[in-house]
Symmetry: C2
Subunit: 376 residues, 2 copies
């Protein structure tokens, strides 16, 4: 099983877009080790679009001038750091950036990637010829990857268009995007994370994960698709939700130059443990209350030791809204005493029965681990 827990890593797109090059990838791999990301579980260093030359050579994809050492050498470099290497292609005739893509070349390209030592393929959905149905194209690449004999994690990126949660696992996907692209704004996090992921939890599990797109934590308004940037409080809510969702944790910021708040968020080992819990259940929305048009939702993720990770979110524009979770709503007997631990403050909040209430700041979260006494 390639992905018994949600994949963790970094992808070049959010910050670098078309400006990615060999040096950035190497320095990113270096930073994985130096910044403690590798130790925390981040593993895949993935190049997104724009690594490709504009023409194939002898029918094969080749890198452009920004990767003078070639992809195999770059993969070797990443492997040398004890990390894994990922790359990008597209199910259509061209990538979203207009580079040559894998339509009709699935077997050749899969073999090329395997020859280079690729461990991860993100497979996009631009320039699919009109009249061609997309899901079978994802199946073809899945078959082609399998035929290489090399274990390659298959990340389907068709933006949730054809309900990939219903068919992508059978196409060989380990993860599949559920929506269009995220960007570094609260509106985007709210819409993609808190609205569009509702109801999908039963489709995910070990080796097959819903993917609500990469993290924008730490972008601070930078990157080619940025639309203003989130606050650190908002990044914390975003990361907490992705952990509860058992989403792949693919960092999108420049990890060579992380802000201190971004490091603290991305390296919160207690939150990561929720994401990586071996039970592999995706969290779900237990309920929410509306305050005008903005909710205070509660999301919960059952964990292997019998405890439940719970996010009490205040998505309103007002500070310190009360947000409660009743034991009953997370399938715990109301009379059962439970320890409550705050996974951001890293402190115990005592033993409680019946329910627990927090008052998160506006756009903020209380991320808790609720453990029935006697369990865990």
């Amino acid at each position: 099983m390639l992905a018994p827990t949600p994949p963790m890593g970094w992808n070049s797109w959010n910050t670098f877009g078309g400006k990615i090059n060999e040096q950035v990838v190497k320095e990113t791999a270096d930073a994985f080790v130096e910044q403690g990301l590798k130790e925390a579980g981040y593993e895949y260093v993935v190049i997104d679009d724009h690594w490709e030359a504009n023409e194939r050579v002898d029918g094969r994809l080749v890198p452009n001038e920004k990767f003078p050492g070639g992809i195999k050498a770059l993969a070797d470099y990443v492997h040398g750091k004890g990390l894994k290497f990922g790359i990008y292609s597209c199910a259509g005739t061209h990538t979203c950036g207009g580079r040559p893509a894998s339509y009709g070349y699935e077997e050749i390209d899969a073999q090329t990637f395997a020859d280079w030592g690729v461990d991860f393929l993100k497979y996009d959905r631009c320039y699919v010829p009109s009249g061609v149905v997309a899901p079978p194209l994802y199946w073809r690449m899945g078959q082609a990857l399998r035929a290489t004999g090399r274990p390659i994690l298959y990340s389907v990126c068709e933006w949730g268009k054809d309900k990939p949660w219903e068919w992508a696992p059978r196409a060989g996907a380990h993860m599949w995007r559920t929506t269009g692209d995220i960007n570094d704004s609260w509106e985007s996090v709210f819409k993609i994370g808190f609205e569009r992921q509702v109801g999908l939890h039963s489709y995910a599990g070990p080796d097959h994960w819903n993917d609500p797109d990469m993290l924008v934590v730490g972008m601070h308004g930078k990157g080619n698709v940025a639309k203003g940037g989130c606050t650190d409080v908002e990044y914390r809510s975003h990361f907490s939700l992705w952990c509860l969702l058992a989403s792949p944790l693919m960092i999108g910021c420049d990890v060579r130059a992380m802000s201190e708040p971004a490091r603290e968020i991305l390296l919160n080992t207690e939150a990561i443990a929720v994401n990586q819990d071996p039970l592999g259940r995706q969290g779900y929305r237990v309920g929410e209350f509306m305050h005008g048009s903005r909710p205070t939702p509660v999301w919960a993720k059952p964990l292997e030791d019998g405890s439940v990770a719970v996010g009490l979110f205040n998505l309103t524009d007002l500070d310190k809204r009360r947000v409660s979770v009743a034991w009953e709503a997370i399938s715990i007997d109301p009379k059962r005493p439970c320890t409550v631990r705050d996974l951001w403050a890293h402190e115990e909040l005592g033993v409680h029965t019946v329910e627990f209430t927090a008052q998160p700041p506006s756009h903020g979260v209380a991320l808790l681990r609720i453990t029935p006494q006697g369990a865990g």
Copy 2:
């Protein structure tokens, strides 16, 4: 304004279907007075389908043999009780029961109804000729009713097919069905009431009301469309929600022979006062928590005196689920002391701040009136 607050009355369909006759209507009008329904505000006695003869006479609708005295005499009888009289037709060529209907006869039929002293028209949507768009047909009858000069309450019944909340007020409707037919079962009440009415509250107000269909309270499994019947606890939840929704309160049971629990529900003047509150705002779902696939929702309806009517519903199959409402979620300052009154027990539950929690029985409700001290 014909309907400054939601219309209240009775309709023959749920219990009598095609078996309606003159005598039943008269006895129903009698029962309105004798049973206290009139005093409680119930006003319209409405005959549904199957009053019509199979053929028009001189182009006019005429009643069938079950109404030997004619419709005008029957309307006079109802008026004689201080009540109002309603009738039924359909926008297609035939009614849903196959009787002649008003397509192409809108002006003639509207004038017939006005001549008879009709005060209320329910207008259905069967046998609309293929290719004919329905909303303009509702507009035509609305215009025809207006042209008679008689005030006739116009009840549009196109089952929510073409989002009537968006156009029915402009077609002259005072109320419009938002869904297909209800039946006397918990599943039907759950689906039509608790699921399908979410998000519609902003479309309703004085003289234009969303209509989630007639009440099944007191049917106890009788009636031609019954599917098992609800319990009294379920009837109470159903009635509470309809009051919070500012729905028309059209009784569907046989009011000549109401059970004692049905009388208590239909004549709960404190619940009716919520429905008839002059502010005329439709209640909305404040939020809900899921327990497996069944929720514990909270619905709230702001009232004219500054208090808020709140329904804490336990729609799960387990008894005594805790259901809470926070003052914040109903736009009251958490520190503000509020009196809480139970509108079914008819008793004060004390003065509270921050929130109030109840533990309703399975499928049950706590219907409250929460009044900030100093208001009301």
